[in-house]
Symmetry: C2
Subunit: 537 residues, 2 copies
């Protein structure tokens, strides 16, 4: 969930620009039921009147996904290139925001001036069209913000990495190089997208049945690589999954994707022999609702994989998604489908590896390296790598504000955090809402309803229900019966007057619930008490 803030000007009167407004995805471990995770922009929204512009480097969700959700708090013009702009407008529209706030910018040497900043988009190779580095000029000097990038001089779709352009940009000096760190632990030089076609074509030629391939929908270069390999292997190309079709259409309508092989409608593919078909499907990360998962479980829109077919993950499994991807693999194995997964012949990364990071440092020759993208361990490793290369480098972790003009000193530690989109509401990650849901998941929930009359007497006993809890097998009336008996007993024994105080009642009930459940089932559930106080009329 990338979000970077640059400021220039006198203290407390700086002007700002924001680079990228991304999301991260929830998991059951920490954020069950949450729809999206994004950075908490409170520091920026408190200064939104001084935010001059929002720049989006490329259209991956971790760089653009929060745009629609956070725009109401940011309210500044959005600048990006054409392909990114198409996606950005869509995000704005779906969030009920004005898509006209998105402004298309051409590539360097074109620039846009916003406040004290002059910003240009430098084409750089990655795994989505029109990925860009940013040149950010300020009166104090030039910043080079790499965005996500790799060094690919033949990327199949879009602009090649242009070493000469980098050197030209750096000719008058780079004050700070803010650089992608994702693959800092990968020791070998990265490989080009154009290294894949021979192996993929051979695989598709040798496959005996239908081939289904998945990758990130936004990696239109890979989609083209896969489709062209299919055609070269004598197969027709079908695309299933809405996200993938959308990306291909966006690529074609914005002119970045050309010469894509003809796509056959799924309906029209029924007459084509299976061994002459190659299907591109969404869901490379094991997402349960995507086409790949549905194919693994059975059918997707009438399409079914069979014994002898081949399923290709032309992708890397993102840490955390191994179980989901493995589940798909197992389901396909049960159908007799050959699954090809984690094979470097059929996938290259979109990020610069260790030697590539050093190569771009060499081309830019910056005064300072500030690693970004990645967890703390990546940032630290990138600093060590840079210092080993004789460069000054500094770790800027979440919330750290650095004065680039003043020896890279840390000048402020800003409270940052996460916002969750939970249903349709933005909540703070630490609001306790999701924490409570996690408690229910771990411990179950005992719900107790009481009626107390105005003489502080219990009316008609107590209702107690355990939810998400095993029953107490040896108890005649089950766990609920044990709970009711114990709670009633404890309440009747309570000191005179205690029942007039809701908190005291809750305490008595919770203690009884903990005691009963610990003994009967070995758990201490969350306990909620609903107190109905009857008033004589």
């Amino acid at each position: 969930m990338n979000m970077y803030l640059y400021g220039y000007g006198p203290k407390n009167n700086e002007k700002f620009i924001l680079v990228d407004v991304g999301v991260a995805f929830p998991d059951m471990e920490s954020s069950p039921g949450v729809d999206l995770i994004m950075a908490d922009p409170t520091y920026i929204t408190d200064r939104a009147d001084r935010l001059e512009g929002i720049f989006i480097t490329h259209a991956h969700e971790d760089h653009i996904g929060a745009l629609g959700h956070l725009f109401p708090r940011l309210q500044a013009p959005i600048y990006c290139r054409a392909f990114t702009a198409a996606i950005a407008r869509n995000k704005m529209e779906r969030a009920g925001q004005d898509p006209e706030m998105v402004r298309e910018i051409g590539v360097w040497p074109e620039t846009v001036e916003v406040g004290p900043f002059e910003v240009g988009f430098v084409p750089i190779s990655h795994s989505i069209p029109e990925a860009s580095a940013l040149v950010i000029d300020t009166p104090a000097g030039r910043i080079f913000h790499s965005g996500d990038f790799k060094i690919d001089t033949d990327p199949v779709v879009g602009e090649a990495f242009d070493a000469k352009l980098m050197q030209e940009i750096a000719a008058d000096g780079i004050m700070a190089f803010v650089c992608d760190s994702t693959n800092v632990f990968s020791p070998e030089p990265g490989r080009s997208e154009s290294s894949l076609p021979p192996a993929i074509t051979q695989m598709m030629r040798e496959a005996t049945g239908m081939v289904v391939a998945t990758t990130f929908g936004s990696n239109v270069a890979r989609l083209k690589t896969l489709a062209q390999a299919a055609v070269d292997a004598g197969r027709s190309v079908v695309v299933v999954g809405r996200a993938m079709s959308t990306m291909i259409n966006t690529g074609q309508s914005t002119g970045v994707l050309t010469d894509f092989p003809p796509i056959v409608d799924l309906e029209d593919s029924k007459d084509i022999p299976r061994d002459q078909l190659m299907v591109l499907a969404t869901g490379s990360q094991g997402e349960r609702r995507a086409a790949s998962a549905q194919l693994a479980q059975g059918k997707y829109r009438g399409l079914e994989m069979k014994d002898g077919d081949t399923f290709l993950f032309s992708s890397k499994t993102i840490p955390g998604n191994e179980i989901g991807v493995g589940r798909i693999h197992n389901m396909f194995a049960q159908k007799g489908v050959n699954v090809v997964s984690g094979d470097d012949r059929y996938h290259v990364s979109g990020h610069a590896n260790r030697p590539d990071l050093l190569e771009l440092q060499r081309l830019l020759n910056p005064d300072l390296v500030i690693p970004m993208h990645g967890e703390y361990r990546h940032l630290r490793e990138h600093v060590i790598l840079s210092e080993g290369n004789g460069r000054k480098a500094v770790i800027a972790s979440n919330g750290v504000m650095i004065d680039i003009t003043n020896d890279a000193k840390i000048v402020e530690n800003i409270d940052t955090g996460r916002l969750y989109l939970d249903g349709t509401v933005l909540i703070g990650a630490l609001d306790g809402i999701v924490r409570q849901r996690l408690q229910f998941a771990m411990r179950g929930h005992v719900v107790v309803s009481l009626m107390i009359d105005d003489d502080q007497g219990l009316i008609d006993g107590v209702w107690a229900e355990g939810h998400g809890l095993p029953d107490a097998r040896n108890a005649k009336n089950g766990l609920d019966g044990l709970l009711e008996e114990a709670i009633e007993n404890d309440l009747r024994k309570a000191k005179r007057g205690a029942l007039s105080d809701d908190e005291a009642v809750e305490m008595i009930v919770s203690r009884a619930s903990n005691r009963v459940c610990k003994t009967a089932i070995g758990k201490k559930p969350v306990c909620t008490v609903l107190i109905n106080r009857m008033v004589a009329e």
Copy 2:
């Protein structure tokens, strides 16, 4: 959670032996709050009078962990070797079962006769002491059950893999070879434990500060490798984490672990310079409560890691644990600790790789290969590998009963499933209990309390509380207020007599809750209704 059942005899009067009684570990994704997962032994417990014995191949939790929990349902003598027996007795005692049911057996050619079976323990190399394959002789022929194994002719601790012994055992023919499949996707021959010391020693020599190393506590060979490397690098050895100390003690007391370097008490290590210390710590899989995680967060029993220290994962991260391990890595990185992770120089697997599987097939020359251990995709790949090697092989997935004597025909598909240890209660994975907890985690919980008098009238309105839910920000009385208003309204509008039926009331309330929450916060929570019916006295 391994559990294998062998039977011999006329239909419906077979005698049985059980091999291994393991557990799997829960995760938030599918089993939040669960303590342990084990196979549902219903088919066996229905025939427990014909269960002649339980054989445990080795003491890893996925082979022995359910012994104490399921023994009450199985009630048969337990056979294993001395090291495994020490652990088995401990499991029995902690579950309140009789440890005397555990019987120590020596190694092949010693055997034990149980019913129509004669079973022997064959030493085989793995990553825990006294791991054993089983020779299971029946009147119909000999079965070789590999257990977990690797081919290691110099395993540092315990017996080396003995090819000649395997050939001797196979001399009169092997009817079926039931074989570990864990590493069937690993193409290179496995490496020996004894290949590690030079690299580990060098690393510990070059490290500038304290070194902390983690691995599975039961891998006492690795513990010895690490400890000896430390001593060779001039470091004293400290052990932190109870599980690790227990394993070392068990290894020493059962005689399998000898010549372990001297261990210094943590308290006595305070005077030793940091660069002369090597600490063995539990928690190689990122477990939150283990010593490694606590060290990463701060201190563990006064021990603290500092800038320039080194933390070594001498282990592989099990799929599903990547996030937890990454979290530890990041926390250490923030302290300036150098983390060494996923480096093959410092870890070897305990399982046979693809060429090793073929090698043991060659030595045993079985009539039939039945892959075990691993997910369906592993079993399938193992069958394909075996068939490619000219052998008959068959997939026996969970619940599949195969007649080994009759062309490996599938003769029955037994309903199998999982039991969860939830607190102190064994529940079925599909009982709906955990499913309900997952629903709470995803959707939150609305709890409603009503009082209805015997004229079917609502008394004093409705109590509603949303738990684990965002509030409705624009509503004066919040989400709870909106819920109460809507529920009261709907109940008052309900058909005359509807309120006399609990189910009808619950339906009306749930619908109102869904409608209100969907509109106000975009979620549909679980809804629980507690109906208090007042009876005139």
